[in-house]
């Protein structure tokens, strides 16, 4: 009951840690403003700067002086602005950890005067600390082909390691023992001038690495390239087979070849810009229609081939089929499925509102109607997923009023008659579940953006944790997980896409024993979503990795449309080596990617302010698909009565039974279908 009682003597209260001090000392420590009438006006630190080796220590001495120059009995605070590189103790003992130019700070606390008007200590000193790089231990010239030919050129590089074992990137000076045989250009090209032997040397900081060259006479008499005279669509990858031949017609091994392309575009293409490219492995892609001539050169020989590129002409128009408008709050993710009763349903989440998930009957996409609403203790239901058997749904919780988030499992076996809560699960998920996935009777649930927990959901009314996966990289974060054929593909910002064997890989992983297979990263660190997909046309395993970023101003409660940034990175996944290699991208300028889906070699992207994007991803993929005419359609859902008016901001798509379902942050659920355009148009061609 409400009480006014006071216990003058505490039940038990005892200190621990330091030995108890006499009360008068403690009081003076804790309360008293220093009694000195003089304010510190000068701080002298010796030495005033330091030069140290890694691991070396040094002691700083400090003296605080008053306005008369007299030394004061005042404590000095030391700290480092780069404590992982150079540390300093409260007593001023410095230790160098890593090379570089660093700064230590010493300051004298201001002990007098009106405390509420001060901003910081006025008496402070910066102590520059130079920690020298360890000497280089080795320089190694990168391996060169076993056969080298006079008159050819090829790139050459070197790597350096210092005595601590760290990789270094010094400027290398290149030299040759016989410049008549070989030299290295300023841009790192090894120029092979004549037959003979030579040693090239890369030097840095007095350390050298060498490569002995044996340059043979050039046996090549011609270059062959195929195919020739073919026709391809813009965006198609044409694999060029080029080789140098000797007089007997034999291929010359290791013969360096370079590719160049020039184009004659149709007269109706204006200012076409770069119209095609060839990558070093011989992958040719045309971005514009026209006659493209590829020149293959090496050692003074050339060959050429021509490829006629025609417009891809895959453009479709869209038609709005139906809607489930949500205008009073933001909408998040969606899932569409065929229910156990044979009817089709969709569930959509809500963002920054009151914890609602909406269930829609979409059997007739032209007549979408709400069949039930579930409200949970959350402000955001960011993600919604339905089990593959259609029996239960999982919705995520963030912003719970009691700060206990987690997830909720729902019985969706008969949504028409009502969706009911089967279970709530928040154990070790209180920090918020941003994303979930359901596969093989297990729920994969992100926990506070740091890891994912794996819950057994054989009995969805009683899920329980069987495993978890968390990276061990510094400062790791996670945003998304998607399970495909027993491999969990998570999206991890700077750690990129990570593949984990949870039963479908070769590492013996299982939900209760997930084992990391590999990963691929990219420089921006914007990896937000990933969709694993095996190409129907090539059989290659691909990973579509979506960015998310907001470099421009953004106001979810404002009136102006918002803008995002980022694109879709497409990587070929080496299933033997467990690594991805980015080969292509799909980038809509001035917009930002979000959730995505791939089906039947078609990519569907919720591209935030760029709307829904539909992209042909058949065949091999190279370069920027946006510029190649691979975009099939885009649709920007604008609702004059939306939560933010006429402001498309597509969250996620899902193709389902010939229609495309999508959620828009500002206007809810939409259903569209693609139709043949009345007038075919190759979007992107500057006609």
């Amino acid at each position: 009951m409400l009480s006014q009682s006071v216990n003058p003597i505490p039940p038990v209260a005892r200190s621990r840690g330091r030995a108890r001090l006499p009360a008068w000392i403690v009081a003076s420590m804790a309360l008293a403003v220093p009694a000195a009438a003089q304010e510190p006006t000068e701080l002298v630190v010796t030495p005033s700067e330091l030069s140290l080796e890694v691991g070396e220590t040094a002691q700083l001495q400090a003296e605080v002086r008053d306005a008369s120059g007299a030394a004061m009995d005042s404590q000095v605070v030391f700290f480092s602005r780069a404590r992982r590189y150079v540390g300093v103790t409260p007593a001023g003992m410095v230790e160098a950890h890593r090379p570089g130019e660093h700064t230590l700070i010493a300051l004298a606390p201001v002990g007098d005067g009106p405390a509420d008007r001060r901003s910081e200590a006025s008496v402070r000193v910066e102590i520059p600390v130079t920690v020298a790089w360890p000497p280089l231990a080795s320089v190694d010239v990168a391996p060169l082909p076993s056969s080298l030919y006079a008159g050819t050129s090829l790139p050459v590089s070197a790597a350096a390691t210092d005595e601590s074992g760290a990789d270094r990137k010094p400027e290398f000076a290149w030299s040759s023992s016989d410049a008549s045989v070989a030299t290295v250009s300023e841009h790192g090209m090894l120029m092979l001038h004549s037959e003979g032997s030579a040693t090239i040397t890369a030097s840095a900081e007095g350390v050298r690495g060498t490569a002995d060259l044996s340059v043979a006479a050039n046996p090549a008499v011609r270059i062959e390239v195929s195919p020739d005279g073919i026709e391809a669509r813009t965006g198609d990858v044409v694999w060029l087979d080029a080789s140098a031949r000797d007089s007997a017609g034999n291929a010359v091994p290791d013969y360096p070849l370079q590719y160049a392309v020039f184009t004659r575009t149709p007269p109706n293409l204006v200012a076409p810009g770069a119209a095609a490219f060839v990558e070093p492995d011989g992958a040719f892609v045309a971005e514009r229609a026209g006659l493209h001539t590829v020149v293959v050169s090496g050692g003074g020989l050339t060959a050429r081939t021509s490829i006629r590129a025609v417009p891809r002409n895959i453009r479709k128009d869209w038609e709005i089929v139906g809607r489930g408008p949500v205008r009073d709050r933001h909408t998040s993710d969606l899932w569409v499925w065929e229910g156990l009763d044979g009817r089709d349903y969709a569930v959509t989440g809500t963002w920054g509102a009151d914890g609602h998930a909406y269930f829609w009957d979409v059997t007739d996409p032209s007549s979408v109607h709400l069949v039930d609403t579930v409200r949970v203790n959350a402000r955001t239901v960011n993600d919604v997923k339905v089990s593959p058997d259609g029996k239960f749904a999982v919705i995520s919780r963030e912003g719970a009023s009691d700060r206990k988030n987690g997830l909720v499992v729902l019985d969706v076996s008969n949504p028409t008659d009502g969706v009911r809560v089967l279970s709530r699960y928040d154990d070790q998920l209180t920090g918020g579940v941003h994303n979930v996935f359901v596969a093989d009777e297990h729920i994969y649930a992100l926990s506070a953006g740091r890891r994912y927990d794996i819950l057994n959901a054989e009995d969805p009314a009683n899920p329980y944790r069987v495993g978890r996966f968390e990276l061990d990289t510094p400062g790791h974060g996670i945003h998304d997980v998607w399970v495909h054929e027993g491999i969990a593909w998570s999206s991890n910002w700077t750690d990129g896409i990570v593949a984990v064997d949870v039963g479908g890989g070769d590492l013996g992983g299982a939900p209760n024993d997930p084992k990391m297979i590999g990963s691929f990263t990219y420089p921006s660190g914007w990896n937000h979503a990933g969709f694993p997909y095996r190409s129907q046309s090539t059989g290659k395993m691909l990973v579509f990795a979506g960015d998310e970023n907001f470099p421009w101003s953004f106001d979810p409660n404002g009136e102006l449309p918002d803008r995002a940034a980022g694109w879709v990175h497409i990587a070929e996944w080496d299933e033997d080596g467990g690594q991805g290699r980015e080969v292509a991208r799909y980038q809509v300028p001035e917009a930002g990617s979000h959730n995505l889906w791939v089906e039947d070699d078609i990519l569907y992207v919720g591209y935030y302010n760029g709307g829904l994007r539909v992209v042909d991803v058949s065949g091999d993929l190279r370069g920027d698909l946006y510029t190649q005419g691979r975009e099939i359609a885009f649709f920007e859902p604008a609702d004059p009565d939306g939560h933010k008016k006429n402001a498309p901001f597509v969250w996620g798509p899902q193709p389902f039974k010939g229609h495309i379902f999508l959620t828009d942050w500002n206007s809810g659920l939409w259903v569209v279908k693609l139709v043949d355009p009345e007038t075919p148009r190759n979007m992107g061609e500057p006609q």
């Binding site: 009951m1 409400l2 009480s3 006014q4 009682s5 006071v6 003058p8 505490p10 209260a13 005892r14 200190s15 621990r16 840690g17 330091r18 108890r20 009360a23 403690v26 420590m29 804790a30 309360l31 008293a32 605070v77 700290f79 404590r83 409260p90 700070i105 300051l107 606390p109 002990g111 405390a115 008007r117 001060r118 910081e120 200590a121 709050r329 963002w351 920054g352 009151d354 409200r375 203790n377 402000r379 955001t380 719970a400 009023s401 700060r403 206990k404 928040d426 154990d427 209180t430 920090g431 918020g432 506070a448 953006g449 740091r450 400062g475 945003h479 910002w493 907001f550 409660n557 979000h594």
Partner: protein, 378 residues
């Protein structure tokens, strides 16, 4: 609702009815007072003015860097010279951060990445260093840290090992000591802000702790305690020291307020808030005569006379989940945040301290929590 709870409310109602007889009629304010308020589930900070013209919002600042994710602005404080305000944002990728803004213009100036769920903070007036507790509310039950940030460069220059779920951070007058609590360790700590280390620890509550204690109140503490002692007091806040050397600690778990004598480093008094009230944040007047407490579960703001140790009043709030509280520089008003539940807005309430009566309110963003007073001058 339990019978005990009904009795408590009935008594509270009778108290509230009795209070006007001892309270003065509030004098209207003669000047403007300002507070910055965090809305944790809207990623906004609100600048609120209370004055002769009433209570109104004069600016709403969107904070955070990922607008489609709720990042959770939680703690806020002002530099001693009033030129800057600092904001902790709980969630990042995954670490939280602290941000620096210019007061008045509310222009963002810089940030620093800290630990998990950085929360309450305070700045030493003698060094300008900012101390932010890394609450790690949702993490494993492992000891966390207090980050030390150089505010000129916004660089984290030190971390101080403290305890499990540190929360609350308030300085003594000269900025040489910081008082904070470790919620799941049931302890108050005193930080030597010049040596970046814990100077003293004080165990709160019963010893040994009651293993069967009911863990109500502050949310988010589930999971295996790994063999650790189960907390009972679950302290959530420590005030700045009063002029006579007392720090007051909110016992959110055992619904009490503890007075700690800094001289003897012992609990000198224990104020029983009553079952189900769960004090959360506290503030004292500059002369140390009055303590204002938010009762998170009781949905009340309590006013305690610290001289007599008696409760003056505990009016119900207009919305659920009271959170933060500040007292104006002239000790005339207490300003309180109310989180609200679900899609409800948060609310800022103003209480006249002489009358212990609510004199203003205004809605802000969802889950209003952290609050700091600004007197309107830089």
């Amino acid at each position: 609702m339990t019978r005990l709870r009904l009795l408590a409310l009935a008594l509270a109602a009778s108290l509230a009815l009795a209070l006007p007889a001892i309270a003065e009629d509030p004098e209207p304010p003669s000047r403007n007072y300002f507070v910055y308020v965090c809305a944790e589930s809207d990623d906004t900070v609100h600048l609120i003015r209370f004055g002769p013209g009433g209570t109104d919002e004069i600016d709403r600042i969107a904070v955070g860097s990922f607008p489609t994710e709720t990042e959770g602005p939680h703690g806020i404080n002002l530099s001693p010279d009033g030129r800057h305000w600092f904001l902790s944002i709980a969630h990042g990728m995954p670490f939280g951060s602290v941000h620096k803004y210019e007061t008045g213009t509310n222009e963002w100036l810089g940030d620093a990445t800290l630990g998990m769920f950085p929360a309450t903070m305070d700045i030493s007036p003698s060094t300008g260093l900012l101390y932010v507790v890394n609450f790690n509310l949702h993490g494993d039950m492992v000891p966390s840290t207090i980050s030390v940030v150089e505010t000129g460069t916004m660089i984290e220059v030190a971390t101080i090992d403290t305890g499990v779920m540190p929360h609350g951070a308030r300085m003594n007058a000269d900025g040489t000591r910081l008082y904070s609590v470790n919620m799941m360790d049931d302890e108050l700590v005193e930080v030597d802000t010049l040596r970046f280390e814990i100077a003293r620890r004080l165990a709160l509550g019963t010893d040994p702790p009651d293993p069967h204690a009911h863990h109500a109140g502050m949310g988010g503490m589930t999971g295996d305690m790994g063999g650790m002692r189960m907390p009972v007091v679950k302290p959530t806040w420590a005030t700045k020291p009063s002029p006579d050397g007392k720090v007051y600690v909110a016992g959110n778990g055992d619904s009490a307020i503890y007075e700690v004598d800094l001289g003897s480093w012992e609990v000198s008094r224990r104020f029983d808030a009553g079952p189900g009230e769960n004090p959360y944040n506290l503030e004292i007047t500059s002369d140390g005569s009055l303590l204002v407490a938010t009762y998170k579960s009781g949905n009340r703001v309590a006013f305690w006379d610290l001289e007599s140790g008696s409760l003056i009043a505990a009016p119900e709030t207009t919305r659920r989940v009271p959170h933060g509280v500040v007292v104006t520089h002239d000790d005339r008003y207490a300003i309180v945040t109310l989180e609200g539940v679900g899609g409800e807005p948060g609310t800022v309430e103003v209480y006249d301290l002489a009358a212990a009566e609510r004199v203003g309110e205004v809605n802000v963003g969802k889950q209003a929590g952290g609050i700091i007073y600004w007197n309107g001058e830089n």
